[in-house]
């Protein structure tokens, strides 16, 4: 994992990301048609939606990586998987916070307020809080094996709340728009069916680029944590 072929792969992923991000920005900010609200006014702020969905997917990638790595850690008990789980949570948190912040910025012109106690918003905040608690739990444990084990258990239990965020807008009365494969009569529109071709392209490119960004960041952070672990081991031997 620490060898040069990985470094080369990361470099290529970075180049691809630069191109992809530029394309995604162009698709979302320039190429996509403007959204129009019920009064016929253009909604420029809606363009943040592409980043909002993208960061959400990045969070999903991070938390999913953390969940998978935690299960493998519980089966194999190798610290390398614990590092991957941590990297996943950290990247997932960046994505989760990005989703909340971009959503709040969009909510002000769309709903007239930065924040409302909508179930989707509330459950998304809970997920972020749970993973912040995960990092707190890790900080309180000194033995790497114990830390890995307890963190893995917590991560597996915590992941149960991630689907809750998705289903919250279906189960609860939500004004948050539905995205995929579901409908809610109280929600403000269903984007996938309402999107035109230019908007659809912007959305798809944003999702692909942010998923790639999430994967790259997880891999880079994983590598950093592994290096950090090696440095600590060497320092422990020397002192």
């Amino acid at each position: 994992m620490l060898n040069s072929s990985w470094a080369r792969l990361h470099a290529w992923a970075a180049y691809l990301l630069i191109v992809g991000m530029a394309l995604s920005l162009w698709a979302g900010l320039v190429n996509a048609s403007s959204a129009i609200n019920l009064t016929g006014a253009e909604q420029t702020a809606q363009r943040i939606f592409y980043a909002h969905m993208g960061t959400n997917m990045m969070a999903l990638v991070g938390f999913l990586a953390s969940f998978g790595a935690s299960i493998i850690y519980l089966l194999r008990r190798k610290l390398v998987w614990d590092s991957l789980a941590t990297a996943g949570v950290e990247v997932g948190l960046v994505g989760g916070l990005g989703t909340l912040i971009s959503g709040s910025i969009w909510a002000k012109p769309a709903w007239g307020t930065y924040w409302t106690w909508d179930p989707r918003l509330t459950t998304a905040t809970i997920v972020v809080l749970i993973y912040i608690a995960y990092l707190q739990l890790r900080n309180g444990l000194e033995n790497p094996q114990t830390r890995g084990l307890f963190a893995a258990i917590y991560a597996v239990l915590a992941y149960g709340t991630v689907p809750l965020t998705y289903y919250s807008a279906i189960w609860f009365r939500s004004i948050h728009p539905m995205m995929f494969l579901a409908s809610n009569p109280q929600a403000e529109g269903e984007f996938v069916t309402a999107l035109g071709p230019s908007m659809g392209f912007a959305l798809q490119s944003s999702i692909v680029v942010f998923v790639l960004l999430g994967l790259t960041l997880v891999a880079l952070r994983w590598r950093m944590l592994e290096f950090d672990g090696r440095v600590r081991t060497i320092r422990g031997r020397l002192i």
């Binding site: 519980l74 179930p119 509330t122 459950t123 809970i126 809080l129 749970i130 912040i132 608690a133 707190q136 739990l137 309180g140 444990l141 000194e142 094996q145 114990t146 084990l149 307890f150 258990i153 917590y154 597996v156 239990l157 915590a158 149960g160 709340t161 809750l164 189960w171 609860f172």
Partner: protein
């Protein structure tokens, strides 16, 4: 120190412990759970070190939160649901903290883990004990909500939801308390780690009470009950699985 000074005051009969192994798994679980629950109850009944602070905190939370609710406002009952569950959930971690702190806890756990009890029964015993603590706290919170906010707390589905909520909170909380108890610097961390995990239950329970108090029929709130049951089932299964790993680490 001579060997005689290590002799316990009460004659120890090892067959009392090992004869559990003659039973089937279900009976072993049942008996083991009862033994752990009984041990926790006996310790609690000596000092009431968990139930009193929990009930006091639950009462205090309801009192403080009731101060901000305007009497007679149309949203009073809706807010009462939040106050009730807030009181229960903020008091819950106190019991968990007491259950896993103190100088004797690690020694007690060591003996429990050395005993032939099934590990799941240790979790189930602790879970049942914390359920009882939560029922006491919920009772106090219910009375306080009825007194301060005129909420009709005697309705069957309110009582059912509160009981199920306490069970779910305990199921998740006991796991988290087992995780944080192994830490050296765990002061205050239990609430930080446990509350986000149990927040979904808080939201579901609060919505259920709000719907019941709005006078809606059974069809309007039955899905909340199913969600609480689902949360409880998953938490219990997750708890049995997780504590097996955690306690192995304690040894």
């Amino acid at each position: 120190m001579t060997l005689t000074s290590l002799t316990p005051d009460v004659a120890y009969d090892p067959t009392q412990d090992v004869h559990l192994q003659h039973y089937g798994l279900a009976e072993q679980l049942g008996r083991g759970t009862w033994l752990v629950l009984r041990q926790n109850l006996l310790v609690e009944l000596e000092e009431f070190s968990a139930v009193v602070p929990m009930c006091a905190l639950g009462l205090l939370v309801v009192l403080v939160m009731s101060l901000v609710v305007e009497s007679g406002s149309p949203s009073q009952l809706s807010l009462a649901a939040g106050v009730l569950w807030g009181g229960m959930f903020l008091a819950g971690p106190v019991g968990l903290e007491r259950q896993n702190s103190g100088p004797d806890v690690h020694a007690t756990m060591t003996y429990l883990l050395l005993s032939p009890l099934p590990r799941a029964s240790i979790y189930l015993g602790k879970w049942l004990f914390h359920c009882l603590l939560m029922f006491c706290t919920s009772g106090v919170s219910l009375i306080a909500v009825a007194a301060f906010l005129d909420a009709p707390v005697g309705q069957v589905w309110i009582l059912v939801s509160v009981i199920l909520g306490g069970m779910g909170f305990s199921a998740a909380g006991v796991v988290v308390s087992a995780l944080t108890a192994a830490m050296k610097k765990n002061q205050g961390l239990l609430a930080v780690v446990a509350l986000p995990l149990t927040l979904p239950l808080f939201l579901i329970g609060m919505s259920l009470c709000r719907t019941v108090w709005s006078g809606a029929p059974w069809q309007s709130f039955q899905h909340w009950l199913y969600l609480i049951l689902l949360y409880n089932g998953l938490s219990l299964l997750g708890g049995i699985w997780a504590t097996e790993h955690v306690w192995r680490e304690w040894q």
